[in-house]
Amino acid sequence: MLTVNNIHKSFKLYKKPSDRLKEIVLKKQFHRVYNALNGVSFTLSEGQSIGILGENGAGKSTLLKLIMGIILPDSGHIERAGKITGLLELGTGFNPEYSGRQNIYFNGAFLNLTKKDIDNKLEEIIDFAEIGDFIDEPLKTYSSGMTMRLAFSIAIHANPKCLVVDEALSVGDVYFQQKCFDWLKNFKESGNSFVFVSHDLNAVKMFCDRSIVLNEGNVVFDGQPEDAVEHYSMLMAQKRQDKSTLDAEAWDGNRVISITSCTILNRKNNECSTFTAGDFLKITIHAEGDTDIPNFSVGIMLRNRFGQEVYGINTDMLKIPVSYHAEHGLDVEFSIDNLNLGPGLYTVTAALHDGSHHLDVCYHWVERAGKFEVVIEDGKPFTGLVRLTPKVTANATTKILPS
């Protein structure tokens, strides 16, 4: 379907366009070379879908553009069997002055559809996009959601054999997103492939048969999506460690003793930043200082991405005595057997203070000392902020209402 063979791609970065002119005239180098991809290879067979993970700047977009043929590689080659359509080009050439119908023809032409193809599919496209009577109104009267729906609908009706999906699916309302995901499932089941790039680790796990992790232009992992997600999380955790977690964004306290690290570990005692709901999670806080402190308290607070306090606990509440001796360091571990949280990003706040709260004497307070993501385990879906594990039964009873 798609073979990417040892692709190298670098960009010449010029400070200003005239540097390029100088380079030709003076025969001296005025550019900086940025290596976006260093020998990336993978093969995608028919009916397979692949997820591409990597932080910003890892080379994901460059790879997608190369696959799409918008830019050309320096060396290596890409073989495409069958038509590849990208959702990068959602709505390319849309003109707000024209009706939805006219725009379908124009956009369709960019997706390699002939006029006849579009004639045949017009009704389907309009139906899927749920535009209704608006189809003959100018595009400028559409809501942004409607425009996106129309664009997506055209793209998927362009008969691709392989679809390149960027973050594009993160737009539109939840209902339409689900419709798109359903469509993607069917699309895959009928033997088509797709390349999926997303920061949504859940989606990668759900849709991809395989996943590669890109780091600084190299493929550092290629395998099962679950393992890839884990690998990716580890990579991200390492990166954060390198930058030192505790150049904290917000800190407070007299620093008589200080938190020097806050690590988040999984069951295997590996550093990890992605957990499935209900998983084991351990937060280790390491503290050091030069003074003995007989009795104090160590606490953590979990916040969700809106900054709401989801859960907080400290050793004082737990009636666990903690003291500090200047000749040692101190590790305090919070092991959570069942991380019963809903999916999403969480931050960990760590604190060292006297008594049950930090208002009297606070030694050190680190906001966002750690970060992790909770994803839903395959085949055990639920929604909401917390994971409850109800036992559910359904029994026949006598009728209460008169029939």
Binding site: S18, I71, K115
Partner: protein, 258 residues
């Protein structure tokens, strides 16, 4: 191949529609412009300003002379300038979907052909109306000459389009060059008024030969210099081939820079 044709056709259609989008007369403007232009050349220049061709006292001859040179010239220049800007102008499309860069500017040929053909039809009608001879053979010849100049505009345009991705200034330089070239082409004057020493240089201007051929067809109803035309025909195609070759050669960089 088929989808490419559709793309070019749709681009052209959209381009024409864009130009008149939201205007009351819409597509009628395609007729209005050439009519106004012809009115200026034939009536104002020919009649009120008393321009005359040497050896021809016909009132309208000068008007027809100017128009028959200016109509193809306008088409040539518009095509050239727009082709030279095409990669930067259509960046939002080229950076999003896979298009064949050498074929992409062809839509401009279509859109610029439309005003040309309307103007030319009106010009032919007027030429016949004022009693000039115009044979069927001349019309065929007209098509041939037009073809050459458009190949020339495409070749030159592609060359500038390729390099202007790196140096935007090229487009400004080209606009100025075109302005100068206009006065080195016998459109509003006849070649006869030029001093003798300038002849070798001015003959290097390919558009001079195109415009002269147009004059032969419309005014003098005489044989064109087919040898000269064939040389320009060959040169235009060689230029186009070179432009496409260069574009292919540095396509990687072009796409990175767009």
């Amino acid at each position: 191949m088929r989808p490419s044709v559709t793309l070019i056709y749709e681009m052209a259609r959209q381009d024409v529609k864009d130009r008149f989008a939201g205007s009351v007369l819409g597509g009628l403007w395609v007729f209005v412009w050439p009519l106004v232009q012809l009115f200026i050349y034939i009536i104002i220049f020919g009649k009120f300003m008393g321009g005359r061709l040497p050896g021809n006292s016909e009132v309208h001859a000068y008007g027809i002379y100017v128009a028959s040179g200016l109509i193809p010239w306008t088409c040539f220049v518009n095509t050239l300038l727009r082709t030279a800007r095409v990669f930067t102008d259509k960046k939002h499309i080229i950076t999003k979907i896979r298009v064949k860069l050498p074929l992409f500017p062809l839509y401009i040929q279509i859109t610029e052909f439309i005003p040309f053909i309307f103007s030319t039809i009106i010009l032919i009608a007027l030429t016949v109306f004022f009693g000039f001879q115009l044979s069927f053979k001349s019309i065929i010849l007209l098509c041939f000459v037009f073809y050459i100049q458009q190949v020339l505009s495409l070749g030159l345009g592609l060359l500038f389009a390729t390099f202007s991705v790196f140096f935007k200034d090229l487009n400004e330089l080209l606009s100025i060059a075109v302005q100068l070239l206009f006065w080195f082409t016998p459109i509003v004057y006849t070649k006869g008024i030029l001093p003798e020493y300038i002849m070798p240089f001015i003959n290097l201007n390919p558009m001079l030969h195109i415009v002269e051929a147009m004059h032969q067809i419309f005014i003098y109803n005489a044989e064109v210099d087919s040898a000269r035309l064939l040389i320009i025909f060959a040169l235009a195609h060689i230029l186009l081939a070179i432009s496409v070759y260069i574009l292919r050669k540095i396509e990687t960089d072009v796409r990175d820079f767009i």
